[in-house]
């Protein structure tokens, strides 16, 4: 009786403290702006089961060690029941006791708990062993924190066995036969022990279990293990599209644009920051982090959380925030250069097992820098002016958009006369190298009998880089004009040769009320071959072809197989895969507006990717994006390999194979 009153007191104190911690943390989430993550409930509930309970992300891809996490997760779910019972029985020992359940059910539960405890112990030891002896390079964060929590879990399991084995040794456990591990401990370690010592062992074990359990609970919110509380709900709130699309901004006087203070994020962005498990996968795959640049996606999320914890209480009281979100030069503040280094490749989001959305956070902050503060790397000034004045990145006269077609016969797009608009894109129209790709695409279109036309000098830039760079105001104005023109000209079907045009026209423009049927040339080519509209002879003179997945085709739009199939059909050999491919592909370094900026810090991203490609000894590298083309060709020159290896667009490979 004394025991249960003492325990009740401790329990109430610690549960209140835990409740207070949670309240303090989760109240801060309410500072965030509104965002609807309760739509498509069916899909969300499905994701909740798929990703939380089936642990799809932990085990996915090359992260085989996630199996250990899945085991621990399931043991944790089971032991959650065990521990709830344990706590309640501690408070109401006379009323709550599993042993009061019907025999069959009790034995089954006892068996499950016993085995789950062993598995949890083994999983914890494996995790500790891995951190000690085979630490993966991307696990860099708070190892002490990890050991502390692993230690706590191990002690909990040991106390479980201590308690139950001493009860079995005393003969007071009727399910002894169904608790093989506890029974084993009882029979191998405890035989011959006196009843008193068995009772005190049971008592000590019980108290250790109780205290450690309550400590564990209270430690959670202050450690990376907070994810235990947040990731399950976050798998319900997770984005439903492959890459979350940045919402539009309303350009009304008095509005704030972008995020320059932590409470300008949406609640989901703030919630995300509580979900980080510090697993380091995002750092592992980030092109900036991999080339020794200050950007590390994990730290961006960490800094958002720290900033929220520091400023949140003040903001709740309508006081001024004291720690700047951007450029404070300390923990909880993100440096400007970090914000500009992101290529928006989305690799971090692809691998994050906690469904954190890193890229939109970076674009949010870019919006603040561009739109509210007009602060950005100097190279971008010209870029922004050129886009606004001449609707292309280089500021070349629109009249020169058709120069690539000087020697061929091209129809202007006219609804009714031509079926598809071939949206050439700025690179395709102006860039000397990409013009060859444009010509290759037209050759394919013509030989397959596709009805197509171009907008010529009236073709605008799609605005991709503007949007990724946070210049939403100019993007917004351009898109509205472009859509007006598309509607006027009756554009419905669009062919693009640039994944950035593709993604922007297809997915971003949708938010402006136009549903275009956009097809990237990789998909189109594959379809034309399938339909038998392209007659190919198999070219073999390209040698080994290494294929590079462009971020905006692959991760953003799930186009992986179309170009591979087309290469296989045109060359009678499947392309060679680089070490990182498909959804784990490594960015060329030019996305997210990085194409227009200097890469001043660390190793060049394109050089790293070229080194990876060269390991496969290719004679040809196949790309499907004009930015990738530029970055790969530059990278090859950098490595002095441009005379041995050539970079070709898929369209060029196919055009060569046309009979």
């Amino acid at each position: 009786m004394t025991n249960s009153i003492l325990f009740l007191t401790i329990f109430l104190i610690s549960i209140s403290f835990f409740g207070w911690s949670c309240f303090r943390y989760f109240r801060l989430i309410t500072l965030g702006k509104a965002e609807n993550r309760f739509d498509h409930l069916g899909k969300r509930i499905r994701d909740l089961f798929l990703y939380s309970f089936a642990q799809r992300c932990s085990i996915s891809g090359s992260y085989r060690f996630g199996v250990n996490h899945a085991i621990l997760f399931w043991c944790f779910m089971i032991l959650l029941v065990a521990n709830t019972e344990f706590l309640l029985a501690g408070i109401f020992p006379d009323y709550i006791n599993l042993a009061n359940l019907p025999t069959g059910l009790y034995y089954t539960i006892a068996l499950i708990f016993d085995i789950a405890s062993l598995l949890a112990l083994l999983a914890v030891l494996t995790a500790a062993g891995r951190r000690l002896f085979f630490p993966p390079k991307y696990i860099e964060a708070r190892t002490r924190d990890a050991f502390f929590i692993l230690g706590m879990v191990a002690v909990l399991m040991l106390a479980f066995f201590g308690l139950h084995s001493s009860e079995i040794a005393q003969g007071s456990e009727r399910a002894a036969l169904y608790m093989p591990i506890s029974s084993f401990v009882a029979s191998s370690i405890l035989p011959g022990a006196s009843t008193e010592s068995l009772i005190s062992l049971a008592n000590i074990s019980w108290w250790i279990h109780a205290i450690v359990l309550l400590c564990f609970l209270n430690y959670l919110p202050y450690s990376k293990h907070m994810h235990i509380l947040t990731v399950i709900p976050n798998s319900f709130f997770k984005r439903l599209t492959r890459m979350s699309l940045q919402p539009r901004e309303e350009f009304n006087k008095g509005n704030v644009f972008g995020v320059g203070q932590v409470d300008q994020f949406t609640w989901k962005a703030l919630f995300d920051s509580y979900c980080c498990t510090e697993c380091g996968r995002c750092s592992d795959v980030c092109p900036a982090t991999s080339t020794n640049k200050p950007l590390n996606p994990r730290l961006v999320i960490h800094d958002i959380k720290e900033n929220l914890l520091t400023n949140g209480p003040m903001l709740i009281n309508k006081e001024q925030a004291k720690l700047p979100l951007i450029g404070g030069g300390q923990d909880g503040s993100i440096d400007e250069e970090v914000i500009w280094e992101c290529t928006t490749c989305g690799a971090c989001m692809e691998v994050c097992p906690a469904f954190i959305e890193h890229v939109p956070r970076i674009t949010d902050m870019r919006r603040d820098l561009v739109e509210m503060k007009a602060r950005f790397p100097q190279e971008l000034l010209n870029f922004f002016e050129n886009m606004e004045q001449r609707s292309n990145p280089w500021g070349i006269a629109p009249a020169e958009r058709t120069k690539w077609a000087a020697k061929i016969n091209v129809q202007p797009f006219e609804a009714g006369k031509t079926e598809c608009l071939f949206f050439v894109g700025c690179a395709g129209a102006y860039d000397a190298r990409s013009r060859h790709v444009t010509l290759a695409v037209t050759k394919i279109l013509d030989s397959a009998g596709v009805s197509w036309g171009i907008l010529g000098k009236d073709e605008p830039c799609c605005g991709d880089s503007l949007r990724r760079l946070g210049n939403e105001y100019v993007f917004d104005r351009m898109v509205k004009e472009n859509i007006e023109m598309f509607k006027e000209k009756g554009v419905r079907k669009v062919i693009t040769q640039c994944p950035h045009c593709y993604h922007t026209l297809k997915n971003d423009y949708r938010r402006y009320g136009i549903e275009l049927e956009v097809v990237h040339h990789t998909e189109l080519i594959n379809n034309l071959i399938k339909e038998g509209r392209l007659e190919l002879t198999q070219t073999r003179d390209l040698g080994n072809i290494a294929f590079h997945d462009s971020c905006y085709l692959g991760r953003y739009n799930n186009i992986y197989e179309a170009p591979r199939k087309a290469i296989a059909l045109a060359t009678n050999q499947a392309p060679v895969e680089m070490e990182r491919h498909h959804d784990r592909s490594f960015c060329c370094g030019a996305g997210g507006g990085r194409m227009w900026m200097e890469e001043k810090i660390g190793k060049h991203i394109n050089v790293l990717r070229i080194e990876e490609a060269m390991k496969e000894n290719p004679e040809t590298i196949c790309v499907c994006c004009p930015y990738c083309m530029t970055m790969f060709e530059d990278g090859l020159k950098d490595k002095g390999a441009d005379n041995r290896v050539k970079v070709l667009d898929l369209a060029e490979i196919i055009a060569k194979a046309i009979k």
Partner: protein
């Protein structure tokens, strides 16, 4: 105290074509931009505002659509924008233009003391570089052309020290205020407008002054007041070029030929 920045809206010359038959500029569909040199003059005005607490007014003579360009200046942070627009101002050469701009400055000076008039060194459509000096002459201000750096302004002593960028040398000069300063691109990097400022500028007032306001003698302004008359616009014939050596096969030889050629023409000294 006031800084007056004179800006001109010009056709985006990279997009201007000349009709080969009539010799006229094809202006149709060509977008207008703020004269690039003037963007630097404007930036310098805004920097003086920040540094010396001066007010900045922009003036521009042109057709009514010049308002768009003036709004851009408002979005960058000028205090006042005045559009000088009247049919009587049309067809003006540099002389007639400088008369209108000088008069506008004079009228602004009646309300607030003008210390500096800033101009771009020239416009990209006319390329004469005469309007700035014309304004200075008409107002009796000091004139400092081709300024690449303003070193100091002493508002008490009414002195300015500036560095001028001349061919092959710099010149640091002192002049008394008020002064007209025409700037080169090297003087600064223009700023970019923030969105709240752009939105503010959309609804801000651009003051319109026509000749009723200006009260200039119509014989001295516009086409009538112009000392020069345009008779013909044409692209100058370009002499056929010459390929020196074979750069691909023997780059050294080609480079030597080029050096010889340049020194023969007195373009470089060896």
């Amino acid at each position: 105290m006031l800084v007056v920045v004179c800006i001109k809206q010009v056709p985006d010359t990279t997009q201007v074509k000349i009709d080969p038959v009539t010799g006229n500029l094809i202006r149709e569909g060509v977008p207008f931009i703020m004269n690039p040199f003037d963007t630097h003059a404007l930036e310098e005005g805004l920097r003086l505002k920040g540094k010396y607490g001066l007010n900045v007014a922009v003036i521009s003579m042109g057709p009514p659509n010049t308002e768009i360009t003036l709004r851009k200046a408002l979005a960058l942070g000028v205090d006042n924008a005045v559009l000088l627009s009247d049919r009587a101002f049309g067809g003006a050469d540099t002389l007639a233009t400088s008369k209108v701009l000088a008069e506008a400055t004079r009228q602004l000076a009646q309300k607030e003391e003008v210390v500096i008039v800033l101009c771009g060194k020239q416009t990209i459509d006319g390329d004469t570089a005469q309007v700035g000096p014309g304004i200075a002459t008409r107002l009796g201000y000091s004139q400092l052309t081709l300024v690449e750096h303003i070193e100091n302004i002493d508002l008490q002593a009414k002195k300015i020290i500036a560095r001028r960028k001349l061919e092959g040398r710099d010149e640091v000069v002192e002049a008394s205020l008020p002064a007209m300063i025409s700037v080169v691109r090297e003087i600064n990097t223009p700023r970019y407008p923030t969105v709240p400022m752009r939105l503010m500028a959309e609804g801000a007032t651009v003051t319109l002054w026509d000749n009723k306001e200006m009260k200039l003698n119509e014989e001295t302004i516009g086409l009538k007041g112009s000392a020069t008359q345009v008779r013909k616009i044409f692209s100058p014939e370009r002499a056929v070029g010459e390929i020196l050596g074979d750069g691909a096969a023997n780059p050294d030889e080609a480079a030597n030929l080029l050096i010889d050629k340049l020194s023969e023409g007195g373009l470089i000294l060896i």
